[in-house]
């Protein structure tokens, strides 16, 4: 009998201890909300002749007179800099300084480049189209969609700066695909175009300063800058690019990619 009473006391003490533990366990996680002051969001859009880009319809004509249509546009920009009117250069994209834009993935049209951007008036912004030589490393992206932009190692490695894919009608009015791709170019001995004859590489990245008015960053607000890519500009200003001359694939044609790099400097505007 005495033993049973003792057992009961032990059991009671056990449950008391467990209850104490459960009481301790009831504390909650507290959250301090994120600050969103002076946020900067770059919004990308794509136009042809100042109208929104319409995909998969042969409704465009470039300066060379090629009728063409666009199926998709993918590209990287990096090293964004804001040029403050007081002379400072601000690099807002401290967290992620490379951004990928893909017309198949609308979420890539917004790039939240940072918060706590100094307020005031900015003369301009600049960025690298593609990557600088130092940044363009093979295998730096391993997940889709970025990994699908890989540029073959044998052709210079790293990643495509641009994939602009579509169709054009050739001189025989035959609808043919074009892969207007930009990346590291190759120099071939005797212009052979053979991989075994590659003697050097050319980095075709370039700096873009989009045309537009001065920018204002205001305090405690999401500041949005609309960046528009003018697709037709890849094929003119200053050089006329003719698909019938360069063909559908230009990855191994440095001359064609050089033209694209020159034309690309004015493809963006701020609206």
């Amino acid at each position: 009998m005495k033993q049973q009473i003792n057992n009961a006391i032990y059991t009671r003490k056990l449950f008391l201890g467990l209850a104490l533990i459960l009481t301790i366990v009831t504390s909650c996680t507290e959250k301090k909300p994120a600050e969103t002051s002076n946020k900067l969001n770059l919004k990308f859009s794509h136009k042809v002749d100042n109208n929104n880009l319409i995909f998969n319809e042969m409704i465009y004509t470039n300066a060379a007179g090629n009728n063409y249509e666009v199926t998709e546009v993918m590209y990287f920009i990096s090293d964004l800099k804001l040029h403050h009117s007081d002379g400072r250069t601000i690099q807002p994209a401290q967290w992620d300084d490379i951004h990928y834009i893909d017309t198949n993935i609308p979420s890539t049209f917004d790039w939240i480049v940072g918060k706590d951007i100094p307020t005031g008036l900015y003369d301009s912004l600049t960025f690298t189209f593609g990557f600088s030589q130092a940044r363009n490393q093979s295998f730096m992206f391993v997940n889709p969609p970025e990994v699908n932009m890989a540029w073959p190692e044998v052709l210079g490695g790293g990643f495509h700066y641009l994939m602009l894919n579509g169709w054009w009608k050739d001189l025989q009015d035959v609808r043919r695909p074009f892969n207007f791709h930009l990346g590291i170019g190759q120099i071939y001995a005797n212009n052979s175009g053979q991989i075994s004859d590659i003697t050097g590489f050319v980095h075709n990245n370039f700096t873009v300063r989009p045309a537009g008015e001065k920018l204002r960053i205001e305090e405690n607000k999401e500041n949005v800058i609309n960046l528009v890519m003018h697709i037709e500009s890849w094929f003119d200003t200053p050089l006329i690019y003719d698909h019938n001359i360069w063909g559908g694939a230009i990855m191994q044609n440095q001359e064609a990619m050089h033209m694209a790099a020159i034309n690309g400097r004015d493809i963006f505007s701020i609206e």
């Binding site: 467990l18 366990v25 992620d96 997940n143 073959p152």
Partner: protein, 714 residues
């Protein structure tokens, strides 16, 4: 010349053993039998938060690896990534917070950065004599023990000298996996020496969960082992041991790669001197060398040989790692009146080197292009740890106390040339680092009555960052799929722990309760690195995390158990355990539009991967006349809603499973066990199970597993 000398040194003791085995000149009476091989073991161990698993508990149940058997212990869980190699979690402590070692401190450095091969996976369950789990930084005699220790005792016991010629065979069949295992041990001995050789093979297929879904979890293992021991005189014992474990095609559906090859070699030797007339006096020396070669790739995955959308190319990845650990230990004990002293020193050097090769095969403009790159995972990384300890025990009437103090010098270096600098901050630069660690433990016990005792343990355990935490480069090593980057500048992690234990045996009931609280300062965990500093290299990794010290982490909880002998042949047992763990403050990354938008500070955020509350119940009855013993057990695990916001951890539902088996022992030397694990074929997963690669779905546990095991021991 020196090679010849070494050969002689090796052959001499082997020769002695062989001569001793074949000669009968030595009579039994002339040899004094050593009491036990264990020389340094505190009598106060019974007052530690310690649990033991004996060989007899392992041999007849259908376990694939030692991690599975550990999960049956209260407040011990494990991370499942495939069909094999469960990584143990003790009270929420994990990885290098747990000092896992064999015998007198034999350490193994696993090769896989994804922890496909945690330490225990290198030792086959059939070689185990006993497992000791110490839930706290109390066992300091065998290396720094920051938060818990798991000791795998593999050396043959005293019985090894008594048997003459012996054969032990363990055979098992697992119907769920269509898996067959066979382990055979042959031994020969006389009173002075013994030799034991063994080997085993396991071929297991994929398992099926409770929903009938098959998981790619097959594996193949082989092992061989040899042990020799020789007694010289009345008090000297010398032994040598070799264990080899070889894994092939071990599949891990929750990891980006599978283990293609894993070769482990463990060499060890020991010398014990004890005075049978003065059991408090002893001297022991031991040394070991372990090597691991680990090769993994994604050749069992579809993306290795075909284009899997949304990829537009084929991705092939291969990683190989070589590790070695060499160490030694010397220890002695003596008594001065009522004070029992033990002292010792140990040393170990761990080396690791590994590379990863990636191939991308792309089709562009009608041509096939192959791009490849090789990365270092570790580059000639070395960690030296030299330690010394000193302990004393004292008892007076109902009161007993033991204390131990341990110092370690931890020296780390790496041949890495990687330098990551950004915005005037150095993120990764490998420089030699020396760290001095201080650990201590005090355990006291007071007998309230003949049947009840209360114990208090207070300890400080310290550890330096391990190979992974210091030097890994861009591999998904955690549960969250991020690539991890080591940090050579990590500060040591320090655990302050208190355990309060109550044990009572009022009549037929054995009852114990253990409350604990642990506060870890400079807790080592990963924090996100800006993509502008480092980008992931592993497929599927959303970003890179670097190991850093978090100011503070708190873990507390309890374990309780009760065993009740209903009658001489019927027993009932119950156990439960729970850990509540949180970071008082931690920075969390916030996302907006799938992009990182900033950070926020969170208070009292749960530590990720903490097991849920669980309770176990088992009932057994021994039908003596028919030599049959059925056992039924239930394991109930609560839902885990106390999940980390910082790690975006998801909650896990509760589950209840039941195992049933019957052992039949027709003769003393033959035992048969048959039954079913997960009797009701419940479809479930544990909170610690990793997610299936490329999805948010967790890896499910095996469904009903019918098994039959046969043990023959002559």
């Amino acid at each position: 010349m020196s090679k010849k000398y070494m050969l002689k040194e090796l052959l001499l003791p082997l020769g002695l053993i062989v001569i001793s085995l074949i000669s009968n000149a030595q009579t039994n009476d002339s040899v004094f039998r050593l009491p036990v091989f264990e020389v340094i073991e505190s009598p106060l161990q019974k007052n530690l938060p310690l649990s033991r698993i004996n060989a007899s508990q392992i041999e007849l149940i259908p376990i694939n690896d030692l991690g599975e058997i550990l999960r049956r212990e209260s407040n011990v869980s494990g991370i499942r990534k495939g069909g094999y190699a469960i990584d143990p979690i003790v009270r929420g402590y994990r990885y290098s917070q747990i000092n896992v070692f064999l015998d007198d401190g034999i350490h193994i450095e696993g090769g896989c950065p994804n922890r496909m091969d945690p330490v225990m996976s290198h030792v086959e369950p059939e070689l185990i004599q006993q497992i000791e789990i110490v839930k706290g930084p109390y066992l300091l005699q065998y290396g720094p023990s920051p938060s818990a220790s798991i000791r795998l005792k593999t050396r043959p016991g005293e019985m090894a000298f008594k048997k003459g010629f012996g054969v032990k065979s363990i055979t098992g069949y697992d119907a769920n996996r269509n898996g067959l295992k066979q382990h055979l041990t042959l031994s020969g001995s006389n009173e002075r020496s013994f030799i034991r050789v063994g080997g085993g093979i396991k071929n297991y297929g994929n398992y099926t969960d409770g929903k009938g879904r098959e998981w790619k979890s097959s594996y193949h293992k082989k092992d061989i082992s040899a042990d020799v021991g020789y007694k010289a005189g009345k008090s000297i014992l010398t032994g040598f041991s070799y264990k080899g474990s070889f894994g092939r095609d071990v599949l891990f559906p929750a990891l980006p790669m599978d283990e293609i090859e894993d070769n482990t070699h463990i060499f060890s030797g020991y010398f014990n001197h004890s005075n049978p007339l003065k059991p408090d006096q002893s001297f022991s020396v031991s040394a070991y060398h372990t090597r691991v070669f680990h090769l993994m790739d994604n050749s069992f995955r579809p993306q290795y040989s075909m284009i899997v959308p949304p990829n537009t190319g084929i991705m092939q990845a291969v990683a190989s790692v070589n590790t070695s650990t060499t160490g030694g230990r010397v220890a002695f004990s003596h008594a001065v009146q009522k004070l029992k002293f033990s002292h010792g020193a140990d040393y170990r050097i761990t080396k690791k080197d590994g590379t990863r090769n990636m191939l991308m095969i792309m089709e562009m403009d009608g041509q096939t292009f192959t791009s490849g790159k090789s990365f270092n995972l570790w580059k000639e990384s070395v960690i030296n740890n030299s330690g010394a300890f000193s302990g004393v025990e004292w008892g007076y009437k109902r009161f007993e106390v033991s204390s131990i103090l341990r110092f370690d010098l931890n020296q780390a270096s790496s041949g890495d040339t990687l330098l990551i600098e950004k915005n005037e901050r150095t993120w990764f630069e490998s420089k030699p680092v020396d760290q001095f660690l201080i650990s201590f433990a005090v355990n006291s016990s007071y007998k309230i009555s003949e049947k009840t005792s209360i114990s208090l343990g207070i300890a400080r355990g310290q550890r330096s960052g391990d190979m992974q935490e210091r030097y890994i480069k861009f591999l998904a090593t955690g549960y969250d799929r991020y690539d991890y980057l080591g940090n050579p500048d990590l500060k040591p992690e320090t655990n302050f722990q208190t355990d309060l234990m109550l044990r009572s045996n009022p009549g037929k009931v054995n009852f114990s309760l253990n409350l604990f609280r642990s506060q870890i300062s400079d807790y080592i965990t990963g924090s996100l690195v800006p993509p502008s500093v480092a980008r992931p290299v592993s497929q599927g990794a959303p970003g890179v995390k670097q190991f850093n010290n978090i100011d503070k982490a708190v873990l507390m909880g309890f374990e309780a158990s009760a065993d009740y002998a209903i009658s001489t042949n019927t027993s009932l047992s119950f156990s439960a355990g729970y850990t509540y763990a949180y970071f008082p403050e931690i920075e969390r990354i916030t996302f907006e539009n799938n992009q990182i938008s900033g950070t926020e500070m969170i208070k009292n955020d749960p530590i990720p991967e903490i097991p849920a509350f669980e309770a176990m119940f088992s009932l057994s009855h021994h039908f003596v006349k028919v030599k049959i013993k059925p056992v039924i057990s239930f394991r109930a695990v609560a839902c885990q809603n106390h999940v980390s916001l910082d790690a975006y951890e998801e909650s896990t539902p509760s589950y209840l499973i039941s195992d049933f088996f019957v052992t039949y022992t027709p003769f003393r030397k033959i035992s048969i066990a048959a039954g079913a694990n997960n009797l009701f074929n419940t479809a479930y997963y544990d909170h610690l199970n990793r997610r299936l690669l490329g999805s948010t779905e967790k890896l499910f546990e095996p469904g009903r597993t019918l098994f039959i095991n046969l043990k023959i021991d002559f």
